[in-house]
Symmetry: C2
Subunit: 114 residues, 2 copies
């Protein structure tokens, strides 16, 4: 004889939550994708460095040296940020100029204040 499974209506057990106002899985996944893109110290510095540069744009070679990482690693991080829509890539000649998507970045401003 096996033990009885927990009864759903048991008085002392947990009441189901009303989740009609909560984040759905797709919503949570989409938001997590954006947050993952910036949840890395190197990528946060990359965006900050681009923002702090002269015309609010920078190329890969500007960013490699101050971060002390290899060029492919910087390119990789910039790709992640670009695909998340946090920064924008514009090719001019052999250079790739990156600028900050201000609308997206402004959404993150409240978090940066802490």
């Amino acid at each position: 004889m096996t033990l009885t499974a927990p009864v759903a209506s048991e008085a002392t057990s947990c009441t189901p939550l009303d989740l009609s106002a909560a984040l759905t899985r797709p919503q949570a996944e989409q938001l997590a994708t954006l947050l993952k893109a910036i949840a890395d110290p190197t990528r946060l510095q990359l965006v900050s460095f681009i923002q702090a540069s002269n015309n609010a744009e920078a190329c890969v070679c500007n960013l490699t040296e101050p971060l002390g990482l290899s060029q492919p690693t910087i390119s990789h991080h910039l790709k992640v940020l670009t695909e998340a829509g946090v920064i924008i890539r514009e090719k001019r000649g052999t250079w790739a100029w990156y600028s900050v998507n201000q609308e997206r970045w402004q959404q993150l401003a409240p978090l940066l204040a802490s």
Copy 2:
């Protein structure tokens, strides 16, 4: 006319950026730690579920079923969120009640709207 070089003043190498206004490494690491805590769809839903519950607090057993994950996994995620200061843990009897750190959560509001 010839194609635009990067900037007339610099022919070959990149001009160093002025990073005096940019995020320092320790600042970036601290912020990344907070962002990592919420950059996960399950943890975003956990916070949202707690927020949506009756007194804006929930215990582990409330959260296990709607997420379809094991109890140890939920406890693990709640620990990550607690250590990041996103939620607050209060033990009452055998139950552990979790509530949202409203100040932190409000900083996310602009992102939730997008």
